[in-house]
C-alpha cells in the first residue's frame, strides 16, 4: 500500500508510463517530454530507482555524459497491475455516473 502511494504520485506515474512504452529514455528527453525541471526529475528518478522500478545508468553520447533511465521488469509489472486496478475502480464510477444520467 505504501509502495503504491509512492508510485501513484502523478509525476512518477507519468515517468513510469512514458518508460513503459519507450522502454528507455535519456534525462533531457524525459525533461522535455514530461515538462519537469532538472531537480524535480532527478528526485523522482532517484526515488523510482530506490523502489527498484527503474535502472539508471550513465554513459557518454557524442562525448557528453548522459543519464539513461530504463524500466525494470518489476516496474512494468507494478505499473500494469496498478493501472488494471485503477481501471476497475474508475469504470465502476463511470458506470455509476452513466446510470445516474439515464
Amino acid at each position: 500500500m505504501d509502495e503504491d502511494s509512492e508510485t501513484m504520485v502523478p509525476a512518477r506515474l507519468s515517468l513510469l508510463v512514458y518508460l513503459y512504452f519507450a522502454r528507455h529514455a535519456t534525462f533531457p528527453v524525459l525533461q522535455k517530454r514530461l515538462g519537469f525541471t532538472s531537480g524535480n526529475l532527478s528526485s523522482h528518478l532517484r526515488k523510482l530507482e530506490e523502489l527498484g522500478l527503474i535502472q539508471i545508468s550513465k554513459s557518454f553520447v557524442n562525448l557528453r555524459p548522459t543519464t539513461f533511465a530504463v524500466l525494470t521488469k518489476e516496474g512494468a509489472e507494478r505499473l500494469r497491475s496498478q493501472m488494471v486496478r485503477m481501471r476497475e475502480l474508475v469504470s465502476m464510477v463511470v458506470d455509476k455516473e452513466t446510470k445516474s444520467e439515464e
Partner: protein
C-alpha cells in the same frame, strides 16, 4: 452553479474515460511486444533457413549430392537450430520486461509441446520415407505436417482467447501450405522449389505482417467502448 457542476462532472468523466483507455493500452502492450518478437523470430527463421539452404547447396555443388536424407535433415536442422538459438538468445528476452498473462504463457507451453511432437514426427517419417526409397513423398509429407501444425496453432490460439496473437496469418499460411501439396504431387520434380517458395515466402510474410500490425492491438483498445 448547477450547469458549472455538470460541466465539471462531464470533464471528470472524460478524464476518467481517458484514464481507462490508458489502462487498456498498458494492459495490452505486452501482447504487442510478444507479437513484434514473434514476427522477428519468424523472419530470423526464414533467414536462417535461407542461409542454410545456400550453404548446403553450395556444398552439394562442391562435394556432390550425397545422401538425400542426410542432406535434407542437415538443411532443416542447421537452419532451424541456428535461427532458434539466435532468436531466443537475442530477441525473446525483450518479452521478459513485459510479462504476459499466465493463461497466455500456458498456451505458449502447449504450442511448444505441439511443435516438439511435430518435429519428432517429421524426423521419424523422414527416416521411414527415405528408408523405403520413397523420397518423392518427403516434401508433401513435410508440408502436411507443417499445415497441421499451423492449423492447430491457430485453433489453440482462438480457444485460449489469445486470438489477437495467433491471428489469421497462421490459418492463411496453413491453407497455402496444404494447397502446395497438389503441385508437389503433380510435378514431383518441382516439389522442393514449391516448398521453398511457399514455406520460406510464407514465413517471411507472416513475420513481416506480424511486425507491422503489432500496434493494431492497441488501436483495438480504443474501440473498447470507453471512448
Amino acid at each position: 452553479m448547477s450547469s458549472d457542476g455538470n460541466q465539471s462532472d462531464n470533464d471528470m468523466v472524460k478524464k476518467a474515460r481517458r484514464l481507462l483507455l490508458l489502462a487498456d493500452l498498458i494492459d495490452n502492450y505486452p501482447q504487442v511486444v510478444s507479437r513484434r518478437v514473434a514476427g522477428l523470430v519468424y523472419i530470423l527463421i526464414g533467414g536462417g533457413l535461407s542461409f542454410a539452404t545456400l550453404i548446403l547447396m553450395s556444398l552439394q555443388d562442391l562435394l556432390g549430392p550425397g545422401d538425400p536424407f542426410l542432406t535434407n535433415l542437415g538443411f532443416v536442422m542447421l537452419g532451424l537450430v541456428a535461427s532458434l538459438i539466435i532468436g531466443f538468445r537475442l530477441i525473446v528476452p525483450l518479452t521478459r520486461s513485459y510479462p504476459v498473462q499466465p493463461s497466455a504463457s500456458e498456451g505458449g507451453k502447449v504450442v511448444l509441446a505441439l511443435w516438439v511432437i511435430l518435429g519428432t514426427a517429421i524426423v521419424l517419417s523422414s527416416i521411414v520415407i527415405f528408408q523405403m526409397g520413397l523420397a518423392v513423398l518427403f516434401p508433401p509429407t513435410l508440408q502436411f505436417m507443417m499445415g497441421c501444425g499451423f492449423t492447430i496453432n491457430y485453433a489453440l490460439g482462438t480457444r485460449a482467447g489469445s486470438f489477437n496473437f495467433y491471428s489469421r496469418e497462421h490459418i492463411y499460411f496453413a491453407i497455402a501450405v496444404f494447397l502446395s501439396i497438389i503441385p508437389m504431387l503433380v510435378v514431383p520434380a518441382a516439389a522442393y522449389v514449391v516448398m521453398i517458395v511457399v514455406d520460406m515466402g510464407g514465413i517471411y510474410v507472416i513475420g513481416i505482417h506480424m511486425l507491422i500490425t503489432a500496434e493494431g492491438l492497441l488501436v483495438e483498445s480504443e474501440g473498447q467502448g470507453y471512448g
